[in-house]
Chain length 182, copies 2
Amino acid sequence: MEHVTLEERKLVHKGSILDVYADTVRLPNGNIEHWDFVSHRKGAAAVLPVLEDGRVVLVHQYRHALERMTWEIPAGCRDSLTEDTAICAARELEEETGYRSEEITPLIKLRTTVAFCDEFIDVYLAKNLIPGEQRLDDAEEISVKAWEMKDLLEEIYAGRIQDSKTVSAIFAYQTKVLSQQA
Amino acid sequence: MEHVTLEERKLVHKGSILDVYADTVRLPNGNIEHWDFVSHRKGAAAVLPVLEDGRVVLVHQYRHALERMTWEIPAGCRDSLTEDTAICAARELEEETGYRSEEITPLIKLRTTVAFCDEFIDVYLAKNLIPGEQRLDDAEEISVKAWEMKDLLEEIYAGRIQDSKTVSAIFAYQTKVLSQQA
């Protein structure tokens, strides 16, 4: 099968976490088109923290891109291009929620929006949580809440939790738990 | 709670589907920072097509941003800022798979990557599928396959299906089915 091929790539914006390119591509039928490509330079990690009683810890924060508050699993960019995403996930967990975990295991791997962006998020599951202190950076004011799974599912189906990494992670965990009970 | 406030917004790239802005923001502690903001102008719709026997129809296509093939649910941008996403979902279903559906219902609502982008995808469930002909646009070479749910879950947990709208939609449907059986 013939694919889209890249004829020319022009960097149009070097941002704080993104590089934005104007690509000229050739379609399989020979036509030339101009496409956007956004490179999320470092990639990211996220973590679903689950308490002993089964409740899930989410963080509440203001999202500039949406101009509103969201409930999300803890997440953040890698510190460098070579950072292990498990290390990144453990750091974001502790910074945003105060919890440390003695058991961080891979859950799923995500690409957030494949039509124009290469961003990946490796999503981990954190159990055996040990309470501690949040260590937020300057930009963050984050509150933390432990949710019952049934309430989270209700929030998702009602469209009140929409963040794709959070939706994917909650379902991935719930499906695993249910399949182990079956 | 005090939030990040926008001090200045500068359009740095008007792309084919995206507008990219360099934002100057003031953090709650008074510090000034420069953040990227990507506006996905039109938003999008996606659809999980489920056959009578329970198999799920996915499309296989080349993704320029990832430089590889992906398995995904059918999806696409809205034609206009006012298009009903259910209409968009029905159109993308028929164009990419050939199937029409007599029963398209809302499943979940997603924000793909909230840290820097406002893109939304409304995800629908399509049943009562009627086979027909693909009608692909110039850029698309798409093959279609009906998957058993257990194989899809295996692909996701193995990290071979990563697209966030696809992962979310598959789990959202599977969780609903399992909860109705319980």
